[in-house]
Assembly symmetry: C2
Homo-oligomer: 211 residues x 2
């Protein structure tokens, strides 16, 4: 567990967080996506991962970077095919919008399993570790069930990580409440600076923004 | 860890799941809430808990039951005050709509800590265990942060359980997708029988219902 594990972090700076367009301008969405990426990269580093960006455009960040303009699935699979993960040389793939991800939650990915999967809300796959040279991803639709199936198809053992902090990708207005409630990094600071506050109603807590 | 832990399961049969009223009739919401309760009670039993319903009306179920018409917070606090949880005699409080809760996820609540908390999406508290005679609940608004504070105020040690399966309470249409995707009990069966299917779009997977 002491060796650092390579972690690929896909990022699309050109089209950030379109489902937040009802509350944030395009420029704000870019800033907020950058803040979340800051948090994810810092948490990965603290959890013993060596992150590498897989970006659709150069970001000029101080972190190793692979630029690939193709859609997410094709770009990740190209790295998996080239990299050939193995038990001695695992590769993680961690989404850039996991603003709640703590080092402790991310560390849970590092345990045993040829393929380790952390589901997102609504059927996605927010983080995974592969130690199998044959496992490939398909992020379209309910990818989590597809990934369970794909792992079995290549004979890989699967371990599922049950984590709220890894499940909460920040896509929609309601998710911003979870960042304000549970976050403690750059993304939360950005939202506070932008005027967002919690709005406690009878159901789940939401957010309001100062005019 | 071998002793069974008492678990209180609040349930309001008279006003089930109002935020699902756009997709389910009142009678259907009652049936679906009952199916989720079946799943939660079975999972608690399998995880070594002894569940007791805290219901606003008699349910005639084959499970110990306390009837208290008061709102959630008052009813739970009355039990906490009467029961005086301690390290030797902990008490769990687990929401009835955790349709994804597995025995394994619920078992994680049983570990150490004067107060053990599992957050829900949007700031709620979906499950807790108290070993403190002084800890009280307040389920209004962002209860999770309030419960962290309340535990500290009474000098209780806190352990947070980071679980997607415990975080996903089933309140809204979008949550039904998670039951179809990840559930394997009565609630999932009920949704399938009622004609619900996954609807994979570009974002999170949602549900559609056969006409």
């Amino acid at each position: 567990m002491s060796d650092r594990v390579d972690a690929l972090v896909p990022f699309a700076p050109d089209r950030p967080k379109t489902r937040l367009s009802d509350v944030l301008t395009p420029a704000e969405r870019r800033e907020f996506a950058d803040a979340m990426l800051d948090d994810v990269l810092a948490a990965l580093d603290a959890a013993g991962f060596s992150p590498r960006l897989l970006s659709t455009d150069p970001t000029n960040r101080d972190v190793p970077e692979t630029v690939d303009e193709r859609p997410l699935t094709a770009a990740v699979n190209a790295v998996l095919a080239d990299r050939e993960p193995s038990p001695e040389s695992p590769l993680a793939v961690v989404m850039a919008d996991l603003a709640l991800a703590t080092p402790r939650a991310l560390s849970r990915l590092r345990g045993s399993g040829d393929v380790v999967l952390a589901a997102g809300l609504g059927g996605g796959t927010n983080a995974l570790v592969s130690r199998s040279p044959d496992f490939r991803v398909d992020y379209h639709g309910a990818s989590y069930l597809d990934h369970l199936r794909a792992a079995r198809t290549v004979g890989a053992t699967v371990r599922e990580v049950d984590s709220r902090l890894l499940a909460t990708d920040i896509d929609e207005r309601a998710d911003l409440a979870d960042v304000l409630l549970h976050g403690d990094g750059a993304a939360r600071d950005w939202l506070v600076d932008a005027g967002f506050e919690l709005d406690a109603g009878d159901g789940r807590v939401s957010v309001v923004r100062e005019e």
